[in-house]
Amino acid sequence: MLAFLRKNQVPLSSCFCVLLSIYILTAGARGQLRNEPLGAVVMWILRPLQVVSQGTVNWISGFRDNYDTLSGFKAENERLRKRVQNLEVERQKHLEAEATNHRLQQLLALRSHLSGTAITASIIANSATSWFQSCLLDKGSADGVRKGMAVVTPLGVIGQVVAVTVRTAKVLLLTDANSGIDVLVQRTRSRGIVSGSLENGTVLKYMKRSEDVQEGDRLITSGMDGVFPKGLMVGAVIKVRKQHLGLFQFVEVLPAVQSARTEEVLVVAADNGAAKN
C-alpha cells in the first residue's frame, strides 16, 4: 500500500487537489464558505504588489496619452529638446495631480448627492481572466466596505461588491455575465435588467417587444433592486433588434463607465444609498 502511494504520489495529490476544488465549489454554491483564511492570506501577499503595479500602469497610460498629444510639435521642439524633456517631466507631474484633483472633485460632488455612507476607493487590479469581468479595490472590511454594496463613479455605475477581505474588495462589473442591474429607459421609463454576456457584450434583458426602446436611449438605475441608488447612469442603447419569435427584443448597451480607464470609485451602502434628488 505504502509502495503504491509512494509510486503514485503525484497523480494522487493532483486528484486530491481536483476533489478539494470541487468541494470548495459546492460549498461556495451552497453559501457555506463564510470565512476562508486562504483567500485573506493571498490578498495579504498580493495587495501591496498590486498597488505598486497598478500605479506603474496608470503612469504609463498617462504618459502615453500625453506623448500622443505632443508628437505634433516634434519638429518645432527639436532645438529645445533638452529643455522640453525637463519641462515634460514637470508637466506630467502637474497634469497627473490636476487630473487626480479633477476626478476627486467629481467624486466629492457625487458623494454629496448620495445620502448615507460612501467610501472612496481606488482600483488596484483588473480581472486575471477573460471569463469574468471584475476588479479589486484597495479598501476592505476595515474601511467599512461590505458585500453587496454598489460601486459607482460620477459617470455612472461600475458594479457591485461580491467579496471582501480586511483590506480589499472584489467588484463584479456590470459587464460580467453573472451581473444584473435593474434599470429604467430614461425616456419611456420601461424596466429591464442590464447584464454582461459572453456572446453579445452588454445587453438589456427582458425588454418586451411592445416596449419602446430606440438607439441612443439612456439607461439609468431604477433603485428597485435595493442595491444601486436611483437615477445613476448605466449606459446607452446602441442596437435594437426585434426578432421574429419570442417575447423580448434584443437590446445591446454601451456601458457609461469603462472600468479599465477608471481609477477612483465610490462604494455606496445598499440600503441607504438613495440619491437625494
Binding site: 478539494l20 477573460s130 459572453l198 456572446e199
Partner: protein, 168 residues
C-alpha cells in the same frame, strides 16, 4: 527550496502581470493566461507533489482575485496539471512548437473544465458561443507566449541552480 522560491516568485509575478500590465495590450478583453503556461511547465518538467499543490494554489489565487466563485480556476488548473502529467511521458519536450501545442491543448482542457463548472454551478444566458470564442482565443494567445515563458523559466532554473550551498 531554491526552486520553490523561484516558482513562488514567478507565480506571483505572472498573477500581477495578468491583473495589471497585460491589460495595457490592445488585444480586447482577452488576457493571456501565463499562469496556465506555468502550470503546464510544472506538469512537464517538475511533476512533484509540490507542483500539484502549486497549480491548485495558483488557480485558487486567480479565484480570489478575479473569479465569481472560489474553486473554479483551482479546479481547472488542478485538472490541467493532472492531464499534462499523465501525458508528459509520451511527449518530446525539446521543441518550441511542441511546447506551444501542449499549452494549446492544456488551454482547451482548462476551458472545458471551466465550462463544466459554469454549467453545474452558475446559470448564465448566451453562454456557449461566447465560451467557445474565449477558449480558442485564450488557447491561441497562451500557445504563442508559451515558448518564451518556457525559455525564461529554464533560464531562471539554470540561474538558480548555479548558487549551490557550499559542501559541509
Amino acid at each position: 527550496m531554491r526552486l520553490f522560491l523561484l516558482f513562488f516568485a514567478v507565480g506571483v509575478l505572472l498573477l500581477l502581470l495578468q491583473t495589471t500590465f497585460l491589460h495595457l495590450l490592445p488585444i480586447g478583453p482577452v488576457v493571456p493566461d501565463l499562469v496556465l503556461v506555468l502550470c503546464v511547465y510544472l506538469g512537464l518538467h517538475h511533476p512533484t507533489v509540490g507542483a500539484a499543490l502549486g497549480s491548485f494554489l495558483l488557480g485558487y489565487s486567480i479565484d480570489v482575485v478575479s473569479s465569481r466563485m472560489l474553486g473554479l480556476n483551482a479546479f481547472a488548473m488542478s485538472l490541467v496539471f493532472l492531464a499534462v502529467y499523465l501525458s508528459s511521458r509520451s511527449i518530446w519536450l525539446h521543441h518550441p512548437v511542441v511546447s506551444s501545442l501542449v499549452v494549446f491543448l492544456a488551454a482547451l482542457v482548462k476551458g472545458a473544465a471551466l465550462v463544466l463548472a459554469w454549467v453545474v454551478f452558475l446559470s448564465v444566458d448566451s453562454f456557449w458561443m461566447g465560451a467557445a470564442r474565449y477558449i480558442i482565443t485564450e488557447a491561441l494567445t497562451a500557445a504563442v507566449l508559451a515558448p518564451l515563458v518556457f525559455y525564461l523559466l529554464r533560464r531562471g532554473e539554470q540561474f538558480t541552480m548555479r548558487f549551490r550551498a557550499p559542501a559541509q
